[in-house]
Amino acid sequence: MARITRDEVLHVARLARLELSDDEVSKFQEQLSDILEAVSKVAELDLADVPPTAHPLAIENAWADDVPRPCLPLDEVFANAPDRDGDYFRTPPA
């Protein structure tokens, strides 16, 4: 089982929007490699004929009727907002 490369760690961290320090990259490269090696065990089984289970509960069609309910008042909308501009959430430029 191939170890995860430094570039792969950086790629995954970028996809997940995690800024890692150099030390973190090295540490996680080791740990992620160990974990991946352990979980790669699933590949030992021949499961070509077994369907996937996305959900342990076999139900379907859980829908709600199209009837409005009250929305949040603005003070609750923004109660936890780190930055607000009028009645908008504000972020650095996207």
Binding site: V12, L18, L32, I35, T53, H55, F89, P92, A94
Partner: protein, 469 residues
């Protein structure tokens, strides 16, 4: 009237109230005093409420469960200042029965861990031996109930976070059938696995609290109506067919002899109470369960934890643009365990790897489910130790994620299959509690309550930690 917070079950505490021997406020204050007295050592709570409306008895709530107006951090720095504007459905249901939130209990960050050492706010400690972990991720709720800081508590269980701490702290904990308890308002870890459940001193308390929180919730598409809960009163186990999977008992990976012996004795006791006991096998589930879990849960977590982007709530670090702000916020806000799991999950879902990792794990999940289903045609309950070991010292596994993950080897398989599991304390090993895991078929909670209750009475385990008696 003094309230013996260490010893009273929730049912008994409530008895004080109904017999008017103590008021709701007196009881609430008694538990606040217990927290004052013992929580400095145990660190079971991340937040203690001075007061909370209601006419009933107190309840402690794991800090992943959202509480309106009461901080909810999920054990993470990224939510350190977060105060929900709405109650989780389980909290609404507890409030409707008069229960009063006494505080929010410590948890591994985003419920990711098996020792509560991954909490951003410091670990909780085991009331039986404060140098040891209380288990995780629900170590706070476990320590609170075991240490007499709350009559009962709500926990959440993804791969063993109710059952394993209950085992390590010597009390009762139920992980309900997936879909029976609403997840609405509960900070998500892995959506297809997360279940809220009761943490208590007795099986009857567990059954009662389950009856309060269970049932279809229109805000959670993955919930269903559940069979009426029967509070157990029986003394025997006549007619109960118990299966003992060898891979989870004598042959369990890393099992301690003291744990094995205590569980064996409990099984013999069950037989003497009228149960039939037979060996059986779950080869694939035990061999591949942990690997399957550590692909499925991180994959779902990688998406569930993406919303912590510093825009609408939670921590925000400065950045020149949106992307930089998000990356810095998540770097500062998340601890190592969420970072590891987010990266594993992202990797398992990413282009070119999906089939080999996530897709394969989903097929293994089917195989695990089928293996369990087949056994439940022959048995009513499967038993095993909940944890292969008793509580381990703080720091013992914190630097070895894979070793830490193997802690959950016995609790994970039934979680993957969506099945209910109950921990009942069944004895001591090296002076520390050993937990017996009872696994039932889908919606088989009443069977677990009945079996657990009879065993609990026969075992006579004293849930008050020796050093606190």
């Amino acid at each position: 009237m003094t309230v013996d917070t260490l010893r009273l079950t929730a049912e008994e505490t409530n008895g004080l109230l109904t017999r008017k021997e103590a008021s709701s406020d007196e009881i609430y204050r008694a538990y606040l005093e217990a927290i004052d007295a013992r929580d400095e050592e145990l660190h079971a709570f991340l937040h203690v409420c001075d007061d909370d409306p209601g006419e009933g008895i107190p309840i402690a709530v794991k800090d992943v469960i959202g509480t309106r107006g009461i901080p909810t951090t999920a054990g993470s720095k990224i939510l350190e200042s977060y105060v929900p504007v709405y109650d989780a459905t389980v909290i609404e249901r507890c409030r409707a029965r008069g229960l009063r939130v006494i505080g929010k209990t410590n948890t591994d960050e985003f419920a990711m861990g098996s020792s509560t050492e991954n909490s951003s706010f410091g670990p909780s400690r085991n009331p039986w031996d404060p140098s040891r972990v209380p288990g995780g991720s629900g170590g706070g709720s476990a320590a609170a109930v075991s240490g007499g800081l709350a009559p009962w508590a709500l926990g959440s269980d993804t791969g063993g976070s109710i059952k394993q701490p209950a085992a390590l702290c010597g009390h009762v904990g139920l992980r309900p059938t997936y879909g029976t308890v609403s997840r609405f308002g509960v900070v998500a870890f892995a959506s297809s696995l997360d279940q809220v459940g009761p943490v208590a001193k007795s099986v009857r308390d567990c059954a009662f609290l389950y009856s309060v929180i269970a049932g279809r919730d229109e805000n959670d598409s993955t919930t269903v109506d559940v069979p009426a809960v029967e509070l157990p009163r029986n003394h025997d186990l006549k007619g109960l067919r118990i299966g003992v999977p060898t891979e989870m008992n004598d042959d369990a990976p890393g099992i301690e002899p003291g744990v094995r012996d205590a569980v064996r004795k409990a099984i013999e006791l069950a037989e003497s109470l009228g149960a039939s006991v037979d060996e059986c096998s779950l080869p694939l589930s035990v061999e591949y369960g942990v690997a399957c879990y550590y692909l499925v849960a991180p994959a779902e977590a990688s998406a569930n934890l993406a919303r912590y982007d510093g825009v609408r709530f939670g921590l925000r670090e400065d950045g020149a643009d949106f992307r930089e702000m998000v990356m810095k916020t998540r770097d500062v806000g998340f601890g190592d365990e969420p970072k590891r799991r987010i990266m594993i999950g992202t990797y398992a879902l990413s282009s070119g790897y999906y089939d080999a990792y996530y897709g394969t794990a989903q097929r293994v999940r089917t195989a695990i489910k089928r293996e369990h289903d087949a056994l439940f045609e022959r048995f009513d309950v499967l038993v095993s130790p909940t944890s292969p070991t008793v509580a381990f010292p703080l720091g013992a596994k914190i630097d070895d994620p894979v070793a830490m993950y193997m802690n959950d080897v016995l609790t994970i398989p039934s979680c993957m299959a969506g099945l209910p599991g109950l921990n009942v304390p069944c004895g001591l090993s090296e002076g520390l509690p050993v937990g017996l895991q009872l696994i039932g078929p889908q919606f088989g909670e009443n069977t677990l309550f009945r079996a657990g209750h009879a065993l609990e009475r026969a075992l006579g385990f004293d849930v008050v930690p020796e050093r606190l008696r």
